[in-house]
Amino acid sequence: MGIIRKALSSRPVASLTSPHTIDHYLDQIHPMLAAENVRARVVEVVQETGDASTVILRPNGAWKGFTPGQHVQFGVEVDGTRRVRCFSVSSSRAAKKGTFSVSVKAHPDGYVSQFLHHELKPRTIVYLSQAEGEFVLPRDVPDNLLLISGGSGITPVMSMIRTLRDTGHQGRVTFLHYARSRDDEMFTADLDALAEAANVTVMRVYTRRPAPGAELKGRFHVDHLKHLGIDPTDTLTYVCGPAGLIATVRDTYTELGAADQLRLEYFKVPSVDLDAADATGTLTFDDARIEADNSGATILEQAEAAGLKPEFGCRMGVCNTCVVKKNHGAVRHVISNEISANTDETIKICVHVPVGDVNVAL
């Protein structure tokens, strides 16, 4: 952090600009000029597949860098409105100085990801957060490492494996990736190149259109691990992808007594399984003094339907932007199906549905 930036975000300066921050003033000179607001200029948008792209970004000096596996909140302004979503960093930490990239698969209903894929132009300024997320490699990477990803869940894992490659990691790394077909796979060329390294095994499984003579077929199965000669109990494992893949891997690891080796990150907008039995009672937004019949959708969606505007980021339970206090009532996590009924706990409203009467501080 530069000394000027440090001075600008110091308390004396803040007391002179109060109630605004120095960034309110710097922003008027140039949007990239900021002490704390992370902004970045788009360097290039690279199409990875028919519906996935990588955006190379040059962040301003407020950016504190990332740890492979983390994501950023990525905001673009379209017709005066800023739209924000969470995207994973996909580049190596040792990549070309001053840039990093995020990779995104365009979600059919995802406004930002669609915009990014089809319309984002180089030189556009985008609004970011600092890198966030706990799904990261430890400081000392163990000798046995397994990375499992499915579909666009490859992005954070890609950042990890690229960083390991560029920092000269010598331990054994196995990368097991599931995609529908080779055409749907992101980073194909890079994966081909990675497979050349002596300590890296790259195994790609195409679930819909398997490659001719493929060693592994179908969805994740414990046999896949056996085939790769992996012992889950002594292999630190990272898995990122759709809920189905994660559930299978988690069950497998639990069965084998290796749950403590597993690090998870969900990477798909959770589909809410409307459980009619849950969709009863009243959802109360306490601060706004609004009550609504529980429709069974996530609390975030129900709040929006009631005309509220809660803060949100990824809408898939990753980024923690939407957490609010739940005053009372039971809620179900849409991915893990866990039900929690503690009073006064904070919940991520984008991945919780109310079960019966619920009161939240919104």
Binding site: L16, Q28, T81, D287, G307
Partner: protein, 430 residues
């Protein structure tokens, strides 16, 4: 970085400021509100409400880049003016620059409070999703903390506009500005008190938001009151430190070149800039609600009102000030007070445009549309303050008269009887 950062203001805590306010509901009775019956029938009121809803929706659907560009342009001018002002007042040795600096700083504070702060905190630009113009996060360059101001203004004042006993902004608990307010001896000083309040208006807004009167009457909890007091003290500390300590201290650097009085000059410049803003906002706000032709309402008449009646109450309870474009910007478009009260959550730059629709409806239904030049409205407010400060002849209009006391006692007893009846009612049914 070891820096304690103030937690951002909790989002969506004041009220749900992005939605049109709710109408007043009487839980004990289904009796329809009587507001507006002298102008139109219930069916017409319903239709009137729908027509105004359509106007609001049309503007909401049309919001976009141009509105975003506009507010950012205003912010740019505001910040530039503030920086110029701060530079200007650092030149007390060169009076033209010094005076220009005071004026620029005053202008910056006016823009920050009116066209930016007031409007942003109404949620007019929440659709932009930009943290810098977000109602839940914006804090203005004013002694009053935004959170309590939003509650008192956006929720209480804009929902219960001009209803006696509910809208705390009728005379701010200080002045008798309406025939139907009870007269107390302190109202003899209506005019001099108003003049003093004008000079220190931001402190008045802050005090109003602390709601000491509401606490003493038992209408808010101790916890609520303590929170208000704490927030107010914190904001006072910050504002006073910035304007009256930190910036003058920086002026110490000028002492070797200018003289010992340089920091004092900077302090005075800050005070004058704040007073300029106080006087301006006081005038605009008093002219928005207190001219003689503005109507007020009784709680009983407004209970169970329809959307149309709510709109009508806003229309009759506000007054516009005519003028040119720059004047409107300086007032934060509160010179379109009528339109602002009808549609508090649409960007203020749209008020001139919706005023055309409102005028058509006013003509259609033969309603009253209060408007006039600034001088006319100011004169009207002064006349009202002077006239209503005199002791009225009607004993029921005097707060301390035996007649008024008996009336209040009767009302209290009726309310107590109703509560008692309600407490009994469930036992009867069970």
């Amino acid at each position: 970085m070891a820096k304690t950062k103030n937690a951002p203001i909790k989002p969506h805590s004041a009220s749900n400021h992005n939605a049109a306010p709710l109408s007043l509901v009487n839980t004990h009775s289904d009796k329809k509100a009587t507001i507006g019956l002298e102008y139109m029938t219930y069916e017409q009121l319903e239709e009137f409400g729908e027509e105004l809803n359509a106007v609001r929706q049309r503007v909401l659907d049309d919001l976009g880049q141009k509105d975003a560009d506009y507010i950012r342009r205003v912010i740019k001018v505001q910040k530039a003016s503030e920086v110029l002002g701060r530079i200007g007042i650092f030149m007390p040795f060169f009076p033209p620059a010094f005076i220009a600096g005071i004026l620029f700083l005053g202008l910056a504070k006016i823009l920050d409070n009116m066209e930016i702060g007031h409007n942003v905190m109404h949620g007019q630009y929440d659709w932009m999703n930009d943290p810098m113009v977000d109602a839940s996060r914006y804090e203005w360059d004013n002694i009053a903390p935004s959170k309590d101001w939003k509650h008192g203004h956006n929720y209480i004042h804009h929902t219960y506009t001009n209803i006696h006993g509910m809208d705390r902004d009728i005379g701010y608990n200080m002045f008798r500005i309406d025939e139907d307010q009870p007269w107390y001896a302190s109202h003899r000083f209506n005019l001099p008190l108003a003049f003093i309040l004008m000079l220190v208006f931001e402190w008045g807004i802050m005090y109003h938001g602390v709601e000491l009167d509401q606490y003493l009457q038992g209408k808010i909890t101790k916890e609520d009151f303590q929170g208000r007091k704490k927030r107010a003290l914190k904001k006072i500390r910050k504002q006073v430190f910035k304007d009256y300590v930190a910036w003058p201290l920086l002026g110490l650097a000028l002492v070797p070149f200018v003289g010992w009085w340089a920091p004092v000059a900077i302090l005075v410049a800050n005070i004058v800039a704040n007073v300029i803003r106080n006087v301006w906002s006081f005038i605009i706000i008093f002219c928005g609600h207190f001219p003689a032709e503005v109507q007020t309402f009784a709680e009983e008449d407004a209970q169970n009102e329809t959307r149309g009646q709510w709109y009508l109450r806003q229309l009759l309870g506000s007054a516009n000030i005519s003028g040119h474009k720059p004047f409107h910007v300086l007032t934060g478009n509160l010179s379109y007070q009528v339109e602002h009260h009808l549609f508090p959550d649409i960007p203020a730059r749209r008020y001139p445009e919706v005023a055309e629709d409102v005028k058509l409806l006013v003509e259609k239904y033969g309603l009253q549309y209060n408007t006039g030049r600034l001088s006319k409205q100011v004169a009207s407010v002064i006349r009202q303050l002077a006239k209503l400060g005199h002791k009225p002849d009607d004993p029921y209009k005097i707060g301390n008269s035996p007649e008024s006391k008996a009336l209040r006692r009767a009302k209290r007893e009726a309310a107590a009887a109703r509560r008692e009846e309600e407490a009994r009612a469930p036992q009867l049914t069970s």
